[in-house]
Subunit: 115 residues, 2 copies
């Protein structure tokens, strides 16, 4: 199994990051990977919130995140380990990821009271 493609830091594009994180499911996956010790397997996120996400969809979500340069994936035995590339992306686009994830957190907390 050859290693998966990951864009070099300088090839990471803002539109790819925004597109990847404009899907709430992917944003939630990315939040988990970033938060929970930077390691996560695919089936562990199968149920996000209340919704069950089919694994073919999950697979493509991970691919989008990976190709956007947001995560780094490597195979360990039969499972996949996904690491956030937060620190790298932060170096190239300062403040971007924290602002985006902060915005989601803010929206989530405000919908809890108003809606």
């Amino acid at each position: 199994m050859r290693p998966l493609f990951h864009p070099a830091l300088e090839d990471i594009r803002p539109e790819a990051i925004l597109h990847a994180l404009s899907d709430p499911v992917r944003a939630a996956i990315f939040a988990r990977i970033s938060g929970a010790g930077c390691v996560e397997a695919c089936t562990n996120v199968a149920a996000l919130g209340d919704r069950v996400i089919p694994k073919s969809s999950l697979s493509s979500h991970f691919k989008v995140l990976r190709e956007a340069g947001l995560i780094r994936c490597e195979r360990h035995g039969v499972e996949m380990r996904n690491h956030s590339r937060c620190a790298e992306v932060e170096a190239r686009f300062p403040g971007l990821l924290s602002a985006i994830m902060g915005a989601y957190a803010r929206a989530k907390s405000s919908e809890a009271v108003s809606e």
Copy 2:
């Protein structure tokens, strides 16, 4: 002509903002509106960079930006004036827009030297 729909500040969703700005054309339009005195008409952006954008596409780009809560549009006579809602969005999602627009600026300047 009844006024166009604009989401209230508290109804603005991060995914809508990210989706709207994940398109480089829309991001460029938004950058212009934000930069150039916060006023811009539709046909004035018909040529962005080298590409000529058909006005039906422009119309829908403006609609996406408006419904995401990024701009405010009002008719003045025969033309449209578009104002950025930067300040409002900044209040709800601190740092988000400046990080995104900064990322685009950064990517643009780095592609000038490497690619």
